[in-house]
Symmetry: C2
Subunit: 302 residues, 2 copies
């Protein structure tokens, strides 16, 4: 079985990316489908069809799923989800029975982290912090050379550390969380204030890239908050690398430059000087490659 | 060798506690000496004498040291210290040569965490966050059933997460770190403001225990900041238990009550509901018992 590839499936709120992946994290074939979010049954049936299509005429050793969900790793249960109708499902058991293969399941931010660690920016590192800046701020951790998931699997919610006491409301109901300062919607709001309704974070990044001072400063303010979060994680984990991914993470140095300045001020020696802050390398493939690695993990655990 | 006990030594800025400890974390005999901080040579000679005295007439399998220092675990080097003259020393090698025994060395906050995990409040847990509230805020982590130390050993500086953007200055040069809101000196300052020069955190806790409203509220404000830090760690680690120790940690529920209220608001489900927030059990013995466990770790690695 060892030479056979696996299928990794990254389930998003609008589309699902699935790929045939080998142990080195190389993608042989991949397909993208709209995610059917009309119901849980429709969602699961859609995933079954994707797997069946990719398996056709090919030996597959295991399946790995990255889902925008709270996952209980003890049972393989998807407890609750963001943007997709998946809740209180014995996902791992259901998929194992339906497809007759070992199945791994993982929160999507954790999957992206595992992908960047196996095949992207964090290759070879023992301690990795990953932040994905999108609609929210997702996080993942590799600690002492292993993915860290918390006691039942809901760990590494790095977007929900408090960086501003009594700060702005967070999507989770909290206040002053990293997500409420550094997620994509913060850039959208800044863009609307500067350029009127209809503008968004994409405009802000585009104008910032051209050097427009207002846009540069708006992104720098977000970058400084991001830097406070990064400094916190650097002080806690002394990681070799912090990887910044996600759609809004592509703002790159417009965020990371100011973030590094704050890290220099708030980080402890020697960790602040030895850590590398890098952009993710795998882009939208991080999750699906990570899901593939989770499939191999499930295979090896059989 | 396996039945022999070890010696754990907890080196503090004013006194050093050393104890003969067995594998279960039980203390057979302990001694306390003033720490000689007149010079590095005097400090090391004082530690040698403590070890020699405790070894006399008894079989000892290994030595473990908890030091208020930044420790490079790759080399066993004490890189820099707080309150004691110990810097740029090959501590582990030096002690191993001098005493002819396996030697472990660990930052004191990590040692206290390991002590509480083996023999105190966090017994049997797989994921533990410990915060020690004293002159500063120290931290330690047990993750997936193992002490977590970061890439070179300087990890788990939990007192230096940013919880207040552009907040008050921290002893480390940063701003708005947990330590700058929740360490003992913050209580000292509040006491002086309320009761005049000469008052301190001890008075504040004493008055708070009697229910004096001003003292209760001053401690509650510190507790709420502590709660923001705890919520951050709960969201990141999904730990089974958060242990609060250190001299100022004995303020107990005066801090922990308000901290729990903030955790309920800022923590994510299910972690915020499943985690237990507890006071340390071993008091001033946590560090020396942890140092003993580090000695066994060094012995087992030989």
């Amino acid at each position: 079985m060892d030479a056979l590839p696996v299928i990794g499936i990254d389930v998003g709120g609008t589309k699902t990316l699935a790929a045939v992946v080998n142990r080195r994290g190389e993608v042989a074939e991949d397909i993208t489908h709209p995610t059917d979010v009309s119901s849980q049954d429709a969602l699961l049936a859609g995933l079954d069809k994707i797997v069946d299509d990719l398996r056709e005429g090919r030996g597959i050793a295991a399946l790995g799923f990255g889902v925008p969900s709270r996952v209980d790793q003890r049972s393989g249960r998807a407890v609750a989800s963001v943007n997709i109708p998946l809740a209180d499902v014995d996902f791992r058991d259901r998929m194992r029975e339906r497809h007759g293969l070992p199945v791994g399941i993982e929160n999507d931010a954790n999957a992206a982290t595992i992908g960047e660690w196996h095949a992207g920016a964090a290759r070879g590192a023992q301690n990795v912090v990953m932040l994905t800046l999108g609609t929210g701020v997702g996080g993942g951790l590799i600690l002492d050379g292993r993915p860290f998931r918390g006691t039942t699997g809901v760990g590494a919610e790095l977007g929900h550390v408090v960086i501003g006491l009594d700060g702005p409301p967070c999507s989770c109901g909290g206040h002053g969380h990293l997500e409420s300062y550094a997620a994509g919607p913060v850039a959208d709001r800044a863009a609307r204030e500067l350029y009127g309704e209809g503008s968004g974070g994409r405009d802000l990044v585009e104008r910032g890239s051209k050097g427009e001072p207002e846009a540069v400063e708006a992104l720098a303010a977000i970058g400084r908050a991001l830097g406070a979060g990064i400094a916190s994680f650097v002080n806690v984990f002394e990681p070799e690398i912090v990887v910044i991914g996600g759609g809004f993470g592509t703002a790159g140095e417009l965020l990371l430059g100011p973030a590094r300045e704050v890290l220099a001020r708030e980080g402890l020696e020697p960790a602040r000087d030895t850590v590398r802050i890098m952009e993710a390398e795998l882009g939208s493939y991080a999750g699906v490659i990570g899901a593939g690695m989770i499939a191999f993990e499930a295979l090896d655990a059989e």
